[in-house]
Symmetry: C2
Subunit: 153 residues, 2 copies
């Protein structure tokens, strides 16, 4: 492992650190221990061409699904950190890459998104991934702030 | 089919009618068409002994799972009828009969229950099934009424 550690400041953000933590939790045998963060998170980056090349056949595989879960788990952890209330993520695939993801805080649905083409889950760059997460996080936190009574139930 | 139609007044309630509708929706080939309602809903009734005899091994089968979905779909339909807002059920099994069921109305979690031992999903009698549904329905409707702003989002 002679490669220097990634130094892009994006990897120093709370979100990217949490993403790394989520990916490490999935790595039961420590196969990726010690690898730089950009290598460990590399499966989240897919160019347009790479995405288009993935066939939308049958159900997405477990590794893809675990990345979707890692992404929304990380957002849930950040919601929790920010508002101090438990945020529970639920990624539900119905069939062939369609589904729904919810993050609930108390009795409030802080995040509710339809999923489609989960087979091709990925982002064009780390920066786009973080932008997307930040957007979803801020919408969720705004909702929690506006309906603190329901979120506190 | 010489058996007379079920005449227990419980089958005339909104909930039991909706349960029948849900079961019919699952019966793609009309195999149970024309059968009395108590026969069609019979799989929901399990004595204590019958429940105990079902092994808790592996994941519950699809037919059991579809009954769980039918039950919560029916509750969602009644919530919707009562409050006029769309109620979306989500039955999520994580593993080996454990899971979580949510019914969301707008951004409100109107119902949120942990599921366990789904293999043994059933009720001691139709009357207990209806009592349980009524209880969950009234809790959900009370929440929707109290947080109409969030339910309307």
């Amino acid at each position: 492992m002679n490669r220097p550690l990634a130094i892009d400041p994006i990897f120093d953000t709370d979100f990217m650190r949490e993403m790394l933590r989520q990916m490490r939790a999935l790595d039961s045998y420590g196969m990726h221990d010690g690898k730089p963060i950009d290598i460990q998170l590399a499966p989240f980056v897919l160019s347009k061409e790479a995405r288009a090349a993935i066939p939308l056949l049958g159900d997405p595989d477990q590794r893809t699904l675990s990345r979707v879960k890692a992404f929304y788990n990380a957002i849930a952890v950040l919601i929790e950190k920010e508002c101090g209330l438990m945020a529970v993520p639920l990624v539900h695939l119905s069939h062939e890459g369609f589904g729904r993801v919810l993050i609930t805080v108390g009795k409030l649905v802080a995040l509710d998104r339809a999923l489609r083409d989960v087979h091709r889950f990925g982002f064009e760059s780390f920066s786009k991934m973080k932008t997307e997460a930040d957007k979803q996080l801020s919408v969720a936190l705004e909702l929690v702030g506006r309906h603190a009574d329901v979120a506190g139930l």
